[in-house]
């Protein structure tokens, strides 16, 4: 008999007052009992609408059925058939616009908490005895994966399982991409990402950090001199955008990438860290996505007195995950909707003193279907600030394009591929944010998996 409660079993979370001053994980996860109870809400629909909402088609009703039975190992087995990073996706996927938006229970109450169940199953699995080392027969053929974000990790994982000899090249000193330099500890503990990478290393992955491809070695050199038969490019969309308004280069103005990299990768969140960063004071964050929420909540945790998010559309259009917006509001982040900066104001030392904004109103719908904000006349106002963080988007870095002859890209910098991730260069594949521009973990992971399959096909055909 299904559990008829119209509401999800609530996610245990640390109290806003307590958590908003430290970097420990906010949501603490279901217990086994809670997971079994929540799984009981699933109606086991035969046509599986939820699976249709998942970019990698996880067989959701089947894994939830196993959770309901208490067979967590079986549940993990179902998820891992199509997903490589369940502990990550369970935490960071926008479930409300994907699987959970299609859930039949959601028509009359809350949908089944699919994301929370996925996280529970993955965490349960990770707590079990260590995975045994690789037993897959190696085929001795070498492939290169450039970039170690979700796209690269998923691609490498599948290629390893197929028996390829995989080397991953990462520009930074630590692997994980946005999962380690962008998404903060309180939302995605770094230990989870490191565990994932260690697991791949046990399966035979060669990881080379400090390798900026396009500088130290080019894609052509990887293939012609270093003996890699195929290359996957998963270099993300790491180039920060600015608004090009006056004052953006003042001291105290950060791109969200810089601020978050200092906090996460360079560990400014650890007390006594040598990494310098602006702590305390009044902080304004410009933008409304996950990146803006993360930057705002990090600033708060570093001791800011007041953190304000300035967003040019209204609350309904916020692109961030619903849970993050909710958490940010609970923690006391102030939202100024329908506001747009026109200038960052300086003090006598050319440091940030405030941000000059105008109010907006929503006009006609634009190409994306969202109503376009237009400036309201005579609506200027200034928010005093000691630091401003610009979180208005990123685009793919031009380095790979500019150093790889014949690699086609779109005007915004995204690498052109077919549906299988093949680029205009034979043997070179790409996926994730490097292709689409800034998107999501699950789409990047899915693209990595698709490309792995295509690379396998390419190498088999090449062999004949």
């Amino acid at each position: 008999m299904a559990n008829l409660s119209p509401k999800k079993v609530p996610m245990p979370a640390r109290a806003p007052k307590l958590r908003s001053r430290d970097f420990l994980e906010v949501a603490t996860g279901y217990t086994a009992e809670q997971a079994i109870e929540e799984a009981g809400r699933c109606l086991q629909c035969k046509h599986k609408p939820c699976t249709g909402g998942c970019p990698v088609q996880v067989d959701i009703p089947s894994f939830v059925a196993e959770v309901a039975k208490g067979d967590f190992a079986a549940a993990y087995e179902v998820i891992s058939r199509t997903s490589s990073l369940p502990a990550v996706c369970g935490r960071v996927c926008p479930q409300e616009t994907q699987c959970e938006s299609r859930c039949v229970r959601g028509k009359n109450g809350e949908p089944v908490a699919i994301g929370r169940l996925e996280r529970f199953v993955a965490d349960w699995h990770n707590e079990q005895a260590d995975v045994p080392a690789c037993t897959i027969a190696q085929n001795g053929r070498r492939v290169a994966v450039v970039g170690s974000g979700p796209a690269g990790l998923a691609c490498a994982g599948d290629l390893l399982r197929m028996g390829y000899d995989v080397t991953m090249f990462e520009a930074l000193h630590l692997a994980g991409g946005v999962l380690v330099y962008g998404i903060p500890e309180f939302r995605l503990p770094k230990a989870i990402v490191q565990q994932e990478i260690r697991r791949l290393q046990k399966q035979g992955l060669h990881l080379q950090t400090n390798m900026v491809i396009g500088r130290v070695l080019s894609v052509d050199e990887l293939m012609e001199q270093q003996g890699y038969e195929a290359v996957f490019i998963g270099t993300g969309a790491g180039l920060p955008r600015f608004m090009n308004i006056p004052g953006e280069n003042l001291g105290g103005v950060y791109s969200a990438n810089e601020f978050l990299t200092r906090v996460n990768l360079m560990k400014a969140y650890v007390p006594d860290s040598p990494t310098p960063i602006r702590r305390g004071g009044r902080v304004v964050v410009v933008g409304g996505g996950n990146v803006a929420m993360d930057a705002a909540r990090c600033a708060l945790r570093l001791g800011a007195d007041k953190v304000t998010i300035v967003y040019r559309r209204s609350a309904e259009e916020l692109p961030a995950r619903a849970e993050e917006v909710e958490h940010a509001m609970e923690e006391g982040i102030v939202f100024r909707f329908l506001s747009n900066p026109v200038e960052i104001v300086a003090d006598d030392h050319r440091r940030v003193a405030g941000i000059h904004c105008v109010e907006m109103e929503l006009g006609e719908a634009d190409a994306s279907g969202r109503r376009r904000p237009v400036v309201k006349a005579d609506s200027d106002f200034i928010i005093d600030a000691d630091a401003v963080i610009m979180a208005i988007g990123t685009s793919p870095n031009p380095l790979i394009k500019s150093t790889t002859a014949g690699l086609e890209t779109q005007p915004f910098g995204g690498i052109v591929t077919n549906e299988w991730g093949a680029t205009s260069r034979p043997g070179v594949f790409a996926g994730g944010d490097a292709v689409t521009g800034a998107a999501t973990v699950i789409l990047a992971m899915g693209a990595g998996k698709t490309a792995a399959e295509a690379m396998d096909k390419y190498m088999r055909q090449k062999n004949q």
Partner: protein
């Protein structure tokens, strides 16, 4: 794969150290004007340092640095046989020297270490090279022999006159220009105020000037934007668009303010490192 082992270490003057580091892949590609980013310890800072020299056959690069903060202090304590935690490069664009016939290379302080490979490259391609190098006092003078080997004219100055001429590099450069030396280009590398005043001087005389910017950096690949500066009214990233820019276009005052952003926190970290090593805080 690569170990980044320190193969040679030499104290050039009490606060300036030269190290030769094993890094075959970087040595194979490095060119004058490019830089590397390194870390000394797990959880340490990432700092950019210019490639002062390279040996493609031995697979080594040379770095020269002044102990100005916590990380450079820790770096200076490493010995031959120790290894760097991380080393990545070569980053940034190489110095453009093509077609130059007569050049003035201006170096200030430890910036002379960065100016040296540029002067050497120009000398090797047959250009007439005039070098003007300035230091605070005689104890800080470095690379005199190296510079004389590649310069057609070498002027060394100190602020207090304790070595070479007394005065600033701009004094010497003005004299050279006013006595009729005609340069295709002036290349200035050193502290921000020095590069600012060199650029103001050469602007008066309409001589093309290139400066090497060394702002705060993290990744060195264009990802963080922390290294940005305003050049000709446009935002540029020093790590990928530079580090060299047209000195007449750079907003130096802004760059100076940005470089001071973490003064206090850096000072604090430096003092902690000094305590750790039992060294006197300067």
């Amino acid at each position: 794969m690569h170990l980044f082992e320190i193969l040679q270490k030499e104290i050039l003057c009490p606060s300036v150290v030269r190290m030769v580091v094993k890094a075959p892949l970087i040595a194979a590609k490095a060119q004058a004007g490019q830089f590397v980013i390194l870390r000394v310890s797990e959880d340490g800072e990432r700092i950019p340092l210019t490639v002062a020299d390279y040996d493609r056959i031995e697979g080594t690069i040379t770095i020269i640095f002044q102990t100005v903060g916590a990380t450079t202090l820790m770096l200076s304590r490493l010995m031959v046989g120790d290894s760097l935690q991380d080393l990545v490069g070569p980053l940034g664009r190489a110095t453009e020297t093509v077609g130059l016939k007569k050049v003035a290379v201006i170096g200030g302080g430890v910036g002379t270490a960065i100016a040296y490979p540029v002067a050497k490259k120009l000398h090797e391609q047959g250009a007439e090279v005039h070098c003007v190098v300035g230091f605070r006092n005689r104890d800080l003078v470095i690379l005199q022999e190296e510079f004389s080997a590649v310069s057609d004219r070498l002027i060394t100055l100190t602020d207090d006159g304790s070595f070479g001429e007394k005065g600033l590099v701009t004094d010497a450069l003005r004299r050279l220009i006013e006595t009729g030396e005609n340069y295709d280009k002036v290349i200035a590398i050193g502290p921000l105020p020095m590069m600012k005043y060199v650029s103001l001087l050469t602007k008066e005389h309409g001589i093309k000037t290139v400066v090497s910017m060394n702002p705060i950096m993290i990744d060195g690949t264009g990802m963080c934007g922390g290294c940005r500066l305003t050049v000709g009214g446009q935002t540029r990233f020093a790590c990928v668009d530079g580090p060299e820019f047209d000195g007449h276009q750079v907003d130096f005052d802004e760059a100076i303010e940005r470089s001071r952003l973490y003064g206090e926190q850096e000072r604090h970290a430096y003092e902690r490192a000094c305590n750790l090593f039992g060294q006197e805080v300067r």
